[in-house]
Symmetry: D3
Subunit: 188 residues, 6 copies
């Protein structure tokens, strides 16, 4: 106790069920202070033949792509400057906000903005937090440290950053970025 029973149309794979098991367990624990090992989740797979809504059978929808994986793929594509791949991952109405910028709407704007700031930058990840919001978007946080090289060939590293993403229907629709780059430069 507490016990969660989930009835879903048959068709989700073990990895997707594990994600459901984890998400439902944590959803309960958000309110009920039960030790995790006392929270049980049972999934009941319902064959399509055995489920009727309004007297009609329904087709199970394939599981959502994991929003954390989407974010990781996008960040890798950006580090690799594979703009074509990254662009294909953006949804309609995409905006991104970086320290000191107004919302930008294309990756080209970002490239322009970053050009004077550093020659290149890569990310070391410390952790991801992900959740479905009450609206359409899933929210993914990614935090860690930046390292790279300024145009004067000085190296930098260990600069804290955090990104917040919104993913809607498998596409990134919003990216917000905070980091300590200016702080570090100021104090350098």
């Amino acid at each position: 106790m507490p016990l969660v029973e989930l009835h879903v149309l048959e068709g989700y794979n073990p990895e997707e069920k594990q994600k459901l098991g984890t998400a439902l367990t944590n959803a309960v624990r958000f309110v009920v202070p039960a030790a995790p090992e006392l929270v049980t989740v049972l999934i009941h797979d319902i064959p399509a033949d055995n489920y009727y809504r309004g007297g009609e059978q329904r087709i199970p929808a394939p599981a959502r792509a994991d929003p954390v994986e989407i974010v990781k793929d996008y960040l890798t594509a950006m580090e690799d400057r594979d703009l074509e791949k990254a662009r294909a991952m953006l949804g309609g109405g995409f905006t991104m906000t970086f320290p000191g910028t107004a919302p930008m709407h294309s990756l080209e704007e970002l490239i322009e903005w970053s050009k004077p700031r550093y020659k290149f930058v890569t990310k070391t990840y410390e952790g991801f937090d992900a959740m479905q919001g009450s609206g359409a978007a899933a929210i993914v946080y990614c935090r860690g440290t930046l390292q790279g090289e300024y145009h004067d060939r000085r190296r930098f590293g260990g600069i804290r950053f955090i990104d917040r993403f919104e993913i809607t229907d498998g596409k990134i629709t919003k990216q917000e970025v905070w980091n300590d780059m200016a702080e570090v430069k100021t104090n350098a």
Copy 2:
């Protein structure tokens, strides 16, 4: 469909059940791309007399305090410089990291750090994201903008920030802060 049934010991109030309803709905939607209005949550309250684990009755635990409310109360106490109240909300092993700082362990360190930076600062909230992590801690994100006054009486405002909190057993055990203050100062 999908349908979630939650069996819990009787004793949660309507507000707590609403939070369970929302959290369980979003947990399912994190994996299953169902329209929200097709995700159903049923809560079955089980009287203590009707629940046995190992053949023994169990006492329901009171619901966790809402971690978002804990964070809001803490941030208000800090804005009000009510250090006593804020300190009472911190858990063992508390650390906080601000732009350019190493992890600090007491509010006094923070006050020292901030003294040369600004006379005062207040927060305008844009949004909160909260979730139970797989470990003991709940995670709360708070984002928005800062406004306040520097020591030279200049006012500032609209500076983006984001805070990440970990709350364990109702106490804040970790605070991490990112903001654009240095970026803004640099460009000022």
Copy 3:
């Protein structure tokens, strides 16, 4: 076995639950040839606080008026020539078809049609069959015998009839009538 569990929002009264118990039992028996005493129905009343669809509470709808009672009230009003009461029970697009008539749309047409046929007529009921159709309408059959008086003062009786009604949102939208009146007259 078979076992039916019905989860509904709390608020239905014992009489309405008995009707659900009967209707669900017979729905199963329509396909599964179980002895009635082996068909079990459990109703789980879900308090509004314990039910969420799309993360939101929902208000239970009051039970439908019993369509058989609607039909009985209407037939009584017609026997009593209480046209005002009967007319108030008709829904939009109402049609009625009697032996040898095209579909009529008002009670006045019926009165005109029946005038030359008999002075008055009353009904003795033998049985009602009622069911929800797959569309919006509930269907009620009423059968029995007619008795009354012709204009030449001859009495008649024992004439078989059957009426088929459609009831939509508590209003009668269709009435179809068959009976042996012409047959009896022909043979008289």
Copy 4:
């Protein structure tokens, strides 16, 4: 919501489950005015190994033959004057009542009765209504129009009819017929 869960012994085929899905949905809607697309039916197939009554396994009974199909087959056999086939479909204690007749007990009586009335008759179906009654019998209504030829070679058509059948253990045990034939003849 409402949600119906049906637990039955494994062994029903998709078509039989669809009939259960429809019948249970309509049983709920007979009392609860929910939009059809909000009525959910889940069927849980229970393997024989997983079901015990009185501590003993039970054998699932094959589904009932569809009573509407039984009625259609019977009516076709009668139109074809295939009395042998039709007779095989009748159950013990069978009675049939036609306009102006007392209850008849054999198809031969019906043939005798109809001989002077018409040379042949066929049916055009407008609709069927079927339900399990609370007793042993399923009830099937069939309505539509008759066409055929009188002995004087005049054709007739468009004559409204309705039949009510009772089907017990897969056999027809009662047939009642109403139609406008006399009405039409009288007015012809």
Copy 5:
């Protein structure tokens, strides 16, 4: 896991539910080697209005009297030589078998049999084991030691005994007794 859900008609009291909780937990553990604290029992009380078998409501039966209590009361009455009370607790067809006796049918026979053996005897209980058999009878084992006095005024004590009882419909229908009295006497 394992999880047992019991649906019963409302009306059992907390003590009776505790007995159900214990009995169901042990029933599962008889086959499944789960640690007791991982066996969960949920009892769902079903109000009479919410339960239909064959479309009809059913009245909950009062819980059985605890067969262990029945046995204790009977043994106390026998120790007190309250034969009237003890006799009232016996069911039809009662038999009792003591060491070296054929089945006896009345308490008087037992008194006769015991007269030459000892002046009086009392029991010290070590433990009871009780279970419902697959037939009508519950089975209760009672074991411990006997003490008392022989006719020659010698005291005895610590003599092992075990009784097996069958209780049907709240009445004792069978008693079988084994003990070491003869063994002890032989060796004395």
Copy 6:
């Protein structure tokens, strides 16, 4: 009604499920005086992929060996004087008590004790009663009659006995024996 639903990890075979069906039925009947054929048990096999405790999958434990079979095998081994086999069935802390003995700890002690008493003895079984106790041990009662041969070549038979066993983790940890042997000898 009553209805028991058992959710267990998939993997138990039909024989083990039958034992669960019987044990759960009798557990309910121990308290609720329902006719056996009205007690229903449904077993829901949960695939390992569909069960999470603390967000983690769990491995189903193999069913316990049937404690009645263990007792039968042990008693057969003892009759056959196959001490090696019998000894392998004993658990740590094993004790056994026979009429007039203090608790013994090894089969050798028993052999010594029985030597002067009879040349050999075999058992005819009348019945077994078995149940899981609330502690770790399952309890098995075995009763019937003894037959065999004394050292003076006299045969004996029909001597009532009862054994009580405790079985923990598949091993016999306690055996207690009562019988009428001394009674019979005394009276012989």
